[in-house]
Amino acid sequence: MKRFWAMVQNEVVKIVKKKRFYIILLILAVMVPVFSYAQMRQSLERQESYGSDWRLEVQQAIIDNQNSLSSDRVPQEWKIYRQIFIQQMQYYLDNDVNPNEPGGVTFTREFINNSATLFIPLMTMTIASDLVSSERASGTIKMLLTRPVRRWKVLLSKLVALLMFVSLIVASAYLICYLISGVFFGYSGWTIPIFTGFVLNGSDVDLSYVHATPQWEYLLMQSGLVWFVSTVVALLAFMVSVLVRSTAASIVVMMSALISGSILTNMASAWTSAKYLFMVNLGLTEYLAGNPAPIEGMTLGFSLAVLAAWAAVSVIISFAVFTKRDVLT
């Protein structure tokens, strides 16, 4: 057991030495100020047209959406989104709660919500995609396998190190986002009530489960869901890196899967069996916000099951291939 942790330690040190993790932190530190600034410009512009009164703004958003509902040019599934949006916004107005109260915490919640399906999984991929393939490319894999250690243990130590970094990436995304956006919007907002529990029945929202959650609790739940998604993506990328010889190819494979996922969620609502693809199920945080699922019939339980199944299969394949395959040259 001790020897196993020594192997994990070895893998962690390798990842740190490759400086990938620092690059991820650096990307976050560059991107977050850019988005914060854009957001700040937007809220300044809003303030010009609505004064400082968010209620006027929310009411106008409701009216605008109601108007688009009567238009024949708007596709049916968009109308469902808008009907749900209208009901949610009306609920916020009924309770006199600003859904977009500016602040570092609110910005963090929204930023992570938008980056949960693509940006953060991409970050975990940068570490996962070359864990095995880079050893093969540089030939160091032979050194690793000539040690008196079973192959599955070698792979497991890499997997554990990867999972450690997934947690670190998700946590530091939150931390960096909060620290930087706070400079623009202030560091308050932990206790603002956020409504969750919008249960969707077709285009109708069942309000009987809606309740206010303090924003810190919402962030906690959101971070957990993002972590689950990132872990699944990391495990898939890990499998690809076992299967593919070159790191570049392995990154391209995973990247195209993720991007096709975000395209599919926008247009696959008519193709219902697409819901068994993992990339359509990455938007777990949407369930928390009460946004409709891309394909009818998807629920959180369903998405979790699909993702877990894909992750399990990819772990099995990784181990089966890694322990059996001949390593030549």
Binding site: Q9, V12, V13, V16, Y50, G51, D53, R55, L56, V58, Q59, Q60, I62, I63, Q66, N67, S70, S71, M89, Q90, L93, D94, N95, D96, L163, M164, F165, S167, L168, V170, A171, T196, G197, V199, L207, S208, Y209, V210, H211, A212, E217, L220, M221, Q222, S223, G224, L225, W227, F228, Y287, L288, T299, L300, G301, L304
Partner: protein, 272 residues
């Protein structure tokens, strides 16, 4: 080698803590979503919502304008999207040295008197109306014309005279309810009702029935408005009577930009 040991310890510690926190969050979130708790809060809250019980905003000598009602209030047909509502605000801004704020345009395409009565129950709508001191109201055309649908679909000319007679009494009654409701939501605001015009004045078969129905409606509306304080009816019937083609948009139902501008000029004259 010591520094690597230190890095390993820090990484292990931090990621252990992060994993624990994230796993707790995941468990909590999954539980909340898969087994949602019924809430104890009253969801029929609109009646006693905080916004419904607010006092109207105080008079500060400035114009705060809100438009409410149907597609005319919204400005459908105006290629610039302003409608008479924003045009009124712009004209007032030019003329007066008072500050003019256009708060909201609550106009919704196809809105009928019945739908507007429901809409006025919304706390958000009531809030906006309370913030205003000038309320521009346009409603009734969809009750009488059914949105001009019958004409557009080319299903032949409807028997308008009978249709008007049928729709008119109920719609007028609801207009009265709407005016009362606006008054009780905001007792001090100036309410301007935009009278109806006949968009089919250049269609022979429809002209007479339309003219009669519309003048009936406008007369009944004017009667009600005359009884109440701080309300005006801005007539538009004459604006579109002689040459509807020049002031109506391509759908032959809504005004075009020039038509809206002419309505806005009238509204401003009534406010001065």
């Amino acid at each position: 080698m010591n520094s690597w040991k230190w890095i390993w310890r820090m990484t292990a510690l931090l990621s252990g803590a992060a994993t624990l926190l994230l796993a707790v969050g995941f468990g909590h979130g999954a539980q909340e979503l898969i087994f949602p708790r019924p809430n104890v809060v009253d969801t029929e809250a609109s009646a006693n919502a905080p916004l419904t019980n607010r006092e109207p905003s105080l008079e500060d000598g400035n114009y705060r304008i809100v438009a409410v009602g149907d597609s005319l209030a919204k400005g459908t047909g105006d290629t610039t999207g302003q409608g008479f509502a924003r045009r009124t605000a712009a004209l007032l801004d030019q003329k007066d040295d008072k500050e003019v704020r256009f708060l909201n345009n609550l106009g919704i395409n196809g809105m009928t008197t019945r739908q507007l009565l429901n809409e006025l129950e919304e706390p958000g709508v009531q809030y906006v109306l309370k913030e205003a001191n000038i309320i521009l109201l346009s409603i009734g055309a969809n009750d009488l014309f059914q949105g001009g649908e019958a004409l557009q679909m080319g299903s032949g000319v409807p028997d308008s005279a009978a249709a008007f007679d049928e729709a008119l009494p109920g719609a007028v009654e609801r207009l009265g309810e709407i005016l009362n409701m606006l008054r009780s939501i905001n007792p001090s605001a100036r309410i301007v009702y935009i009278g109806l015009y006949n968009p089919f004045g250049d269609i022979e078969e429809l002209r007479e029935a339309g003219n009669q129905g519309i003048t009936d409606w406008n007369a009944r509306a004017a009667e009600m408005i005359a009884e109440t304080e701080n309300m005006t009816l801005t007539p538009t019937f004459d604006l579109f009577q002689r040459n509807p083609g020049a002031y109506l948009s391509f759908d032959h139902f809504h005004p075009n930009s020039i038509g809206y501008e002419r309505i806005a000029e009238r509204i401003v004259q009534g406010l001065e």
